[in-house]
Amino acid sequence: MSSVATTPAAGEVVGMSPRKRRIIRTLDIVGLIATIVTVLGAIFWAFPLYWAVVTTLKVENDIVQPGIDLWPRRFTLDAYTHVLFNTKIGTWYINSLVTAISVTVLVVMMSALAGYAISQLKFPGRRILWWIILASFMIPIPALIVNHFVLISQFKLFNTWLGVILPQLVYGPVTVIIYKQFFDSVPKELREAAKIDNANEFQMFFKLYLPMNWGITTALAIITFIGAWNQFLWPFLAVTDEKMMNVTVGITQVTDAFGVKYARDLGSAILAGLPVAIVYLIFQRKVTEAIMLSAGIKG
C-alpha cells in the first residue's frame, strides 16, 4: 500500500520534470521555426534591393542573358559613370539637396520657436493656436495641391527652388507638437534659476531649452530631411524644367534617348536613394525615435 501511495507522488516529481523539459523543448522548436521564418522573411524583403544593386554592377549584355546570376559575371561601374556623366543627375542632386536642406532647416527652426512659446510662455491666443495645430493633423496635404499651385503661380515661383520648398513647410505642425512635449518636460527649477540670473526669453531658448533637447532636434531634422528628399508629388507638379527637377522626379520623368537600359535606369535609382539610405544607416536610432514620436508614441 505504501508503495502504491508513494509511487504517484514520486512519479509526480520525477515525471513532472521530463514533461516540463518536453514543453521547453517544443517551445524551442517553435522558437527556432519562428526565427527561421523571420530570417527568411528578412531575406525576401531585402532581396529586391540586393537584386537591383547587383544588376547595376553587371554588363548590359549579361543582364539580358537567360539564367539568374546572383553575382555579376563581369563586374563594371559603367551604369554609374554613364548616369553621372551623361544625364542631369548632378543638377538634380543639387536641387534635391538645396530644397531638402532648406525645408529641414526652416521646419525645425520655426517649429522649435513656436513649440517653445506654446510650451513656456503665456500669451493671448496660445490655446487657440495649440488647438489649430492639433487639428491640422487632419488636413490631407495632397488635397491642397491645386491651391498650392495657384499660390506658387501668383508669386511667380513656378520652376524655382522656393516654389518647391514653400508648400513643404506645411509639414511643420507635427514637429511643433513634439517640441512642445519635450519643452514641457524640462524641469521648472532650471527655468527659475535662469530667471534669477536675469536671462531673457531668447537666452532661455538658445542656451537652455534648445541645448537640452539637441537629441530630439537632430532626430526631427533627420526625419524631415528624409521626408523632403523623398517628396514626389509636389516637386513633380511645381517643376517642369528639367534643370530644376529634384532627383526623385528627374530619374522617372526624363527618359534616355537610347531606349531601355536596365543597369542605367536602376543605377540612377540607386543614386537617388543613396543619400537617405546612408543617413538612415548612420542615424538608425534617431530615425526610429523620430518616427515613433510623430506617430504619437513617446519612445
Partner: protein, 307 residues
C-alpha cells in the same frame, strides 16, 4: 494632451495682470514665422480650395460662381466613381495585410537579440526610407515582362510571361503588394514599441501555468497590442487614401483611367484638363473623407494619452 490644463493654470494672484508684456512680445516673435507660414500655406489654401470648388474656373485665372454644380457633376461623373472605388480597393488591399504582416514580423523580430535583431529589423525597415522612384525602378525590374526575375515564376502559373503592370486585374493587387513591401517598416516599428511595453512577467506567469504559446498570443499579446493595432490601422487608412505616386508611376504616367485614384483625379482635372474648380471639388471630398478618419485617430491618440 494636456493643452487645456496648461493653458488654464494662470495663477490666481496674477489675474489682474494676466500677461507679462515682455513675455507676450517674446512669444509673438517666437510664433510669428510659424503662424505666417501656416496662415499663408495652410489655412489660406484650404479656404481657397473650398471657395474654388463653387466655381467654374481654370487652374489659373478668374472663374464664374456656379454654386454646388461641381458637386452635382461629381456625383454623376463616371470617372469620380472609378477613382473613388479604385482608392477604396487600394485601401482594402493594403491596410489590413500591411497591419497583420507587420504584427507577425514584429513578433518575430522582437524575439531576436542584439546585432541579429538590428540587422533583421534593418532588412524590413530600409525600403520605408527610400523614395518612391527607387521603389518604382526596383520592382519594375523585378516584374519586368522580358527579363524580370519573377517572370519564370509567373510563367509557371500563367504559362507565359505576363506584363503585370499592363494587365488590369493584376495592376492594383501588385501595386498594393509593392506598397506593403515599401511601407511596412513603419508599422513594424510601432508594433515592436508596443510589444516592448508588455511586461515580460505576464509571459513568465503564463509559462509557469503551462499556457500554450498560442493561448499566450490570443489571451495576452493580442489584447494588449490591440490599441497599437488600431493606431496602425488608422494611420495606414489615412495614408493610403492619399495614394498617388506609385499608381501614377506604375500606371505609365496615369495614361489609363482604369487605374485612377482620387488624388490622380484632382491632378487630372486641375492640371491636365485645366479645370481648377472641379479639381478643387474632388479635393474637398477627399479632404472630408480623411477628416472623418483623422478625427477617429485623434480621439484614439487622446484616449491613449489620458490613460
Amino acid at each position: 494632451m494636456s493643452a487645456a490644463d496648461t493653458a488654464n493654470d494662470v495663477p490666481l494672484p496674477a489675474r489682474k495682470k494676466r500677461f507679462n508684456r515682455n513675455e507676450v512680445l517674446a512669444a509673438l516673435i517666437f510664433v510669428l514665422p510659424f503662424v505666417v507660414v501656416y496662415a499663408v500655406l495652410f489655412i489660406y489654401p484650404t479656404l481657397q480650395m473650398i471657395w474654388l470648388s463653387f466655381h467654374k474656373a481654370p487652374l489659373i485665372g478668374p472663374g464664374e460662381f456656379i454654386g454646388l454644380d461641381n458637386y452635382f457633376k461629381l456625383f454623376k461623373d463616371r470617372l469620380f466613381g472609378v477613382a473613388f472605388w479604385n482608392t477604396v480597393y487600394f485601401v482594402v488591399l493594403t491596410v489590413v495585410p500591411a497591419t497583420l504582416t507587420a504584427l507577425l514580423i514584429a513578433i518575430g523580430v522582437n524575439r531576436l537579440k542584439g546585432w541579429m535583431q538590428s540587422l533583421i529589423l534593418a532588412c524590413f525597415f530600409i525600403p520605408y526610407i527610400l523614395p518612391v522612384s527607387v521603389v518604382f525602378r526596383v520592382w519594375g525590374w523585378m516584374f519586368d515582362s522580358q527579363f524580370g526575375i519573377l517572370q519564370p515564376l509567373i510563367a509557371l502559373v500563367a504559362g507565359d510571361n505576363v506584363p503585370v503592370f499592363r494587365t488590369l486585374p493584376l495592376f492594383m493587387p501588385t501595386v498594393a503588394f509593392i506598397t506593403v513591401w515599401w511601407t511596412i517598416g513603419f508599422n513594424i516599428l510601432l508594433f515592436i514599441a508596443g510589444l516592448r511595453n508588455i511586461s515580460p512577467e505576464i509571459y513568465e506567469a503564463a509559462a509557469l501555468d503551462g499556457t500554450s504559446k498560442w493561448r499566450q498570443f490570443t489571451r495576452i499579446t493580442w489584447p494588449l497590442i490591440w490599441p497599437v493595432t488600431v493606431l496602425v490601422l488608422t494611420i495606414q487608412l489615412i495614408a493610403q487614401f492619399k495614394i498617388f505616386d506609385q499608381v501614377y508611376l506604375f500606371g505609365n504616367g496615369g495614361r489609363s483611367d482604369a487605374t485612377m485614384g482620387l488624388v490622380q483625379l484632382i491632378y487630372r482635372s486641375a492640371f491636365q484638363k485645366n479645370n481648377g474648380g472641379y479639381g478643387a471639388t474632388v479635393a474637398v471630398v477627399l479632404f472630408l473623407i480623411i477628416v472623418v478618419f483623422s478625427v477617429l485617430q485623434f480621439q484614439m491618440l487622446r484616449a491613449r494619452g489620458e490613460k
